[in-house]
Amino acid sequence: MVGLLAVWFVVSYLLGIVFVEPLNHFHLGGFPLGFWFAQQGSIYVFIILTLVYAVAMDRIDRRHGVESDSAPGHSHRSSETPE
């Protein structure tokens, strides 16, 4: 989790803001690189981070023998007791 948060911080605050000007000297297609990270790349990275976390935590849950009734992407009804 700490690793994922580090990536979150580096991509958004360092690549997208603090080092945006130096990165803009490089180009990705028609984008200045820093500008691309700020307005596109960071959002893609955020999505990947939440995906990696959801997969990794489901794996940990299973290792602890927790019944995970929410297989990724599958809809299901609640298994809990009604309130």
Binding site: S12, G34, H64, V66
Partner: protein, 566 residues
């Protein structure tokens, strides 16, 4: 068929669908009303969260704002998406595991204190009302422009619809209406974006077209972003992709605002409460991921739309004769959102970065709504955008109203005044509170306080400075005591409120040199959050630790095992 005819048709169909869903999913229990019986699948919750989150501001205003801000628009793009990483990793699964119905309820239990709960309730209500006023206003603007009814009538129709499905359907009705609203709003956003990208760059994917070469108009053959930089330089404006060039926000301010928006997102009650509607912690993590994918779809398209709209607008209007101005220009002029002031009397529109020679003022809010017309797309696309704007505003309004309703009926009436209130009475109270909140929201939409735009920054600042630190410490620091939490919240809220009121109302002309560390009121929630953390942790070290039951409860929500719902 005319634009107006199409708009009546599409808005009519979508509203009929929302009402149909509300009747189909009506609820009869408090669990159904507050958390949709916790039976929402992650994918559906992802869509509902995306619609809940993407408000009139995201749909109508954001691309327009970025269009005028260039690089600095990044604060919204990263600020309003990055918070979902924090939600998914740090808050949502744990709060879901703890269960219960509201965020103030968690605060009250974790900090074994009614005082903490009541402070949290007032924050939740304040933040939600601030936000909902803007949504109702958005509904009114769309109605008045596209259906040519009075803004008041527009707001009343919006109030009527939300009243129906929020009061009848509760969280379950809201959730499934939000799923439908997400579909409407994303289609309405993407179709014109794709059409414009295709037309201007030959790429059907706006995210790629954004970084490629223009194929039509006077700049054909040139890269889009480079062209924008050139146009801006020629008009005497700071370069579009430039970050710290003259006239833009400073780095420290961009850092602070981005942080405040991210952390504020993760602390907004109407977003957090969505994660209570899924069956378990794993489903909460997956719904955060789905939500971010669905939000990302709009948020990665928006900056492309901004750039296309910017080129289009300048190309269509700058140095063009007023009498030849296109039809859309005339219709928006009627709403007062475009103003042409012919300073040199030559009958030609001159757009410039110099306030003394500039003759064209365009309201940021109309860029998305006017874009399909500017790009000469067919009438039904324009109508679809109107329906999408309404979907975005109504879905967010409904989510906020539910937070207000639950705060009043569950956190104030039930927990403070009448502890053993029977379920059927609590449900009726929740409905009355929702109805009351809808009416207040409508009044705020019809008679908007002049400072709506300013107070929205306040909503984020407050959420960042109050909820986020207290929830995070509540989950990850067993030592944080009730005294620490209350002191932290009060200092965070007090500081942020005082700073914003001072620089918005007492000294509104202040510039960066008078701001604390050069941070504008929009970003000050970041400092409020840091203060909250420092005070909460320090005070906790000098006060008695939380009782054993609370410590056991914290260990329990952090261990991977089943739910605590009883």
């Amino acid at each position: 068929m005319s634009i107006q005819g199409w708009t009546y048709l599409l808005v009519g169909i979508t509203f009929a669908v929302y009402i149909g869903i509300a009747i189909w999913s009506r609820v009869g229990t408090t669990s159904g009303f507050y958390v949709a019986g916790r039976g929402i699948p992650p994918l559906a919750n992802g869509m509902a969260t995306a619609a809940d989150w993407m408000s009139a501001a995201s749909f109508i205003s954001m691309a327009g704002l970025i269009s005028f801000m260039g690089y600095t628009g990044t604060i919204y793009l990263m600020g309003w998406t990055g918070g979902y990483v924090l939600l998914a990793l740090l808050l949502a699964p744990y709060l879901r595991k703890y269960g219960r119905y509201t965020i103030p309820e968690f605060v009250g239990d974790r900090y074994y204190s009614q005082t903490a709960r009541v402070i949290a309730v007032f924050c939740a209500i304040f933040v939600s009302f601030t936000y909902v006023a803007g949504q109702m206003r958005g509904v009114g603007v769309v109605f008045s422009r596209f259906l040519e009814v009075d803004v008041t009538v527009g707001v009343l129709i919006g109030v009527g619809i939300v009243f129906f499905y929020a009061v009848v359907g509760g969280m379950r009705g809201i959730t499934y209406t939000q799923v439908a609203q997400f579909c409407v709003l994303i289609v309405a956003y993407l179709i014109p974006a794709i059409a414009i990208s295709w037309k201007m760059t030959g790429w059907a994917i706006p995210q790629i077209g954004f970084g490629s070469t223009l194929i039509e108009g006077q700049y054909a053959g040139l890269a889009l972003l480079e062209t924008l930089d050139t146009i801006h330089r020629d008009l005497g404006l700071p370069e579009y992709t430039g970050a710290w060039v003259g006239g833009k926000k400073s780095m420290v301010d961009v850092l602070a605002i981005t942080m405040a928006l991210m952390v504020g997102t993760a602390g907004l009650p109407h977003v957090l409460i969505r994660f209570y509607t899924v069956p378990n912690a794993s489903a909460a993590r997956w719904s955060a991921m789905w939500a971010l994918i669905f939000i990302g779809l709009l948020y990665t398209t928006a900056p492309a739309v901004s750039a296309f709209a910017r080129v289009n607008m300048i190309e269509t209007l700058h140095e063009k004769s007023y009498t030849d101005a296109p039809q859309w220009f005339k219709s928006w002029e009627g709403t007062g959102l475009i103003v042409f002031n012919d300073r040199n009397g030559d009958g030609v529109i001159q757009y410039s970065g110099n306030p003394d020679t500039n003759e064209l003022t365009v309201d940021r809010d109309i860029m998305v709504l006017a874009n399909p017309e500017i790009a000469k797309l067919p009438a039904w696309v324009v109508a679809l955008v109107a329906a999408g704007g309404l979907a975005a505003a109504l879905s967010t309004a409904a989510g906020l109203l539910l937070v207000i309703s639950a705060s009043v009926s569950h956190d104030l009436l039930k927990s403070v005044m009448w502890k053993d209130m029977p379920q059927n009475i609590e449900l009726r109270m929740a409905r009355i509170a929702a109805a009351f909140a809808v009416v207040v929201a409508g009044i705020l939409g019809i008679y908007p306080p002049g400072f709506v735009a300013q107070v929205v920054a306040f909503a984020f600042g407050l959420a960042a400075a109050s909820f986020f630190p207290i929830l995070l410490l509540g989950i990850f620091d067993k030592r944080t005591s009730k005294e620490g939490a209350i002191a932290g919240m009060l200092i965070g809220i007090g500081f942020t409120t005082a700073y914003i009121i001072w620089f918005r109302f007492v000294d509104p002309t202040a510039t960066a040199d008078r701001w604390l560390f050069g941070i504008s009121p929009e970003g000050i929630g970041t400092i409020g959050m840091v203060l909250n953390f420092i005070v909460a942790i320090t005070v906790s070290r000098f006060t008695p630790p939380p009782p054993l039951v609370v410590q056991i409860m914290i260990e329990d929500i952090r261990s991977p095992s089943g739910n605590r719902d009883s």
